[in-house]
């Protein structure tokens, strides 16, 4: 299998401190969109900067399109890596106009550069803004110029560092969609850093979850959400209920009674149940519970439930059923639960 990007055992340690990036290994296939997801300060951006060449790895190897750009003896400076970068604050050169920014990385003849610049500007839908200065553009427009600038020299790989975090919530979804469209159209291989799990889940082909500089899990958004590698990941990606249980094979006994497990397990475990895996009803199937509160969102609703022994759970259900505070309900498990070793 040919990879666009291969990073092996990447480690970055700043003098004396514990490593900011600790033995991370990544593979990105051509045209794939990989997201580095994790809490702020967890080493995602450092990883990206290692890939870009802004930092030299303490150890490990980076290979971009079969070229080794960093290992123990070699280090290719950023300008030689054929890597495009979109920064969190876009970093558009304030003293250069939009066309100039886009053309900045082009090394061809003048006419060739102009043609490419036009092409890129029309791709991002900003043809009429070519001679504007960056500060005359809105945030979303600046974002697209930054994207065009990074794509113009046809990089082997595009790196995006929290590219949507500076945008208003309303604008963010639109820009996100635009970026996805453009990247799909240009068949660009991209690595994208975010701390926003929604963004990661909705955009990525694959997600690499990084905690404290360590790679915890690499998988598709679907797998990450439904089968998080540990409790920490489960908590970070989406909402989750946790219940102690005694596992025996493919089932476990818990406060919700006997539940099915996704993997065989035995002994004391921690069950992870996504709110939408809880089925809530008024029939006599399942464990009795009391509705403590309800949040209505239009296309779904969230329910706060408490079991007889006071255990609190959150459920997310469709809106075809009407619940209100004080209802006595029954809950069952619609999907098999994930069981994790109990960590004290």
């Amino acid at each position: 299998m040919e990879y666009s990007l291969q990073a092996d055992h990447l480690t970055k340690r700043y003098n004396g401190q514990s490593p900011a990036v600790n033995d991370i290994t990544l593979r990105v296939r051509p045209s794939e969109f990989l997201t580095l997801l994790g809490p702020s300060g967890g080493g995602k951006t450092t990883t990206l900067r290692l890939l870009a060449g802004f930092e030299r790895p303490t150890s490990g190897r980076i290979q971009i399109s079969n070229r080794i750009v960093a290992d123990d003896s070699r280090f290719t400076p950023p300008e030689k890596r054929k890597v495009g970068m979109v920064f969190q604050d876009y970093a558009l050169f304030p003293h250069v106009d939009v066309a100039g920014n886009v053309a900045f990385g082009l090394r061809g003849s003048r006419t060739e550069n102009e043609r490419r610049t036009k092409q890129l500007l029309s791709l991002v839908g900003l043809s009429q803004f070519a001679s504007r200065m960056p500060h005359e553009l809105s945030g979303g427009q600046q974002q697209r110029v930054a994207l065009a600038r990074a794509l113009a020299p046809e990089p082997d790989i595009l790196l995006l560092d929290e590219p949507f975090s500076n945008l208003d919530t309303g604008l963010r979804a639109q820009v996100r969609a635009d970026v996805r469209t453009i990247l799909l159209k240009t068949e660009t291989t991209a690595v994208f850093v975010t701390h926003d799990q929604q963004e990661a889940l909705s955009l990525s082909d694959e997600i690499a979850v990084i905690f404290d500089g360590k790679l915890v899990q690499v998988a598709t958004p679907h797998a990450i959400y439904n089968r998080p590698a540990n409790v920490q990941v489960a908590k970070f990606i989406g909402e989750a209920n946790f219940l102690p249980a005694e596992a025996h094979g493919m089932t476990a006994s818990s406060r919700l009674g006997e539940v099915k497990l996704f993997h065989p397990k035995s002994g004391q475990v921690q069950l992870m149940i996504r709110p939408e895996a809880l089925a809530v009803g008024f029939d006599d199937q399942g464990s009795p519970a009391l509705v403590r509160w309800r949040e209505f969102y239009g296309h779904y609703q969230r329910l706060g439930l408490s079991l007889a022994d006071g255990t609190e759970l959150v459920a997310r259900t469709s809106v075809d059923r009407y619940f209100q505070r004080g209802n006595e309900v029954r809950i069952t498990l619609a999907l098999p639960a994930l069981a994790y070793d109990k960590v004290e």
Partner: protein, 544 residues
Amino acid sequence: MQLSGIIPPRFRSDRRQGRLPARWHVGNRQLLQAISLAVVACVMIPVAYLVIGAVGAGQDGVDYLLRTRTILIVSNSLALMLATTFLATLIAIPFAWLTGRCDLPARQVFLALGLAAMVIPSYLTAVTFSEAFGPKGLLQSLLEPLGVDRLPNIKGFVGATLTLTFVTFPYVVLPARAALLQADRALEEAGHSLGLNRWQVFRQITLPQLRPALSAGMLMTALYCLSDFGAVAVMRFNAFTRAIFIQTESFRMDKASVLGLVLIALTMLLLLLQSRLHSNGRHYRIGTGASRELQTVQLGRLKLPGVLFCAAVIFMGVAVPLLVLFKWLAGHMITSPIHVPLDTLAQNTVGVSAASALVVSAAALPLALLAARASSRFDRWLVKLAYAGNVLPGIVIALALVFFASQHMLSLYQTLPLLILGYAIRFLPYSIGATESALEQINPRFEESARSLGLTARESLLRITVPLARAGILAGLALVFLNVMKELPITLILRPIGFRTFATRIWSAYDEAFLSSIALPGLALILVSASVLFVILRQEKTAP
């Protein structure tokens, strides 16, 4: 008007304390450090030679240091510093308040004229003050009808203090005014609503907010007093710099070195004290500019006294020197038989100032980059050492370099490069400071962007960083130019034989009492300085 560019940034109260943990790229950092190290090595020459000179003096040096006379010099300098700082602040606060916050007519004009005192070098002010207020000077001739025969001599402590007060008060006005304009209006309104009158509000609310700005300005003034040579020499006040000059002139290096080291120690003590004061938690954070218009204070019947006060300050700081110079220009006094064409002086002065400004700016860039971007302890030390010029008075640099060159570097002795080196060491901090604060404004991602778009580190420096920092670099350039032009002791001691500038010409004409010959170079120097200052202010105004 921001006006901040005139004050070396190290002394600005609004200076950002922390810095971005932006990391520097591997490749060009070592080069940067190497260049910076070389620059710092040059800066350290004076200190090294002072130590060598003082150690060479041995027991003699210690005896010299401990004589009552040396102790007298220390107390003289301290007294001058304290008195001047006190008086300059006393003048500056109302001046800044009246021209900044009150409904004074034509207050911008008053402000500009008051600040113009900065372009008049201390030795010119001193020379003209001794003419104007001497026993038989201008003031006496005005008082003659009243039966005043002669006035007391103003030479010595009184003359030096008077001169330096009117030379330095703008250094307090600038930060004080900036702080006054940024003061939080809501606080003052709260004061009024709590029943305080105008004066109480000023004293209890406005003034405390000014404290960091005032302390920065006062520090500038105090440092100026310790390092000034012109005023104390003309007023024949036995402060440090004059004593050092007398020893240096006679090439008595051991004694000069001992005095020089003590002066440096004193200056550093002052800086230390100030930073202590600030870290004591007494540092009030000034907001980032109130969005609402500050209320203009209605002076009412205090308007006339206000106008008179500002006019008097301007009269002393600017009008008296100019009037005396014009009087000399028109008068029939003996002129020097040596005719030096003004254009030769102008060419030399502007030439050496421009060359020094360029050298300094070039040397400052790597250090400013280190200061703005680097994070290692080594880098921070390099930058700290490069700021040594702030604690090295011109006379001390000059004495060390003349000693160094005459003993060990004869090929540099009495040459322009040595002179420029002297200026560079003295004024490097101005350029680093201005460039550093400009660089700090630049997003480090700009350079990374450029790198990822295929530019090498050097290319991105030249195409991105330098153009973006150009305002700061140019401000530093102008600041150095302005100060080199006025600098007296370094020029006097390090200049090549026969090399004359406005400053040396003024000095030698004064020295031989050819007062008429002071007029033309004096006025020319003021004119050129004022134009440069004007350009700096314009730059400040148009900067985003």
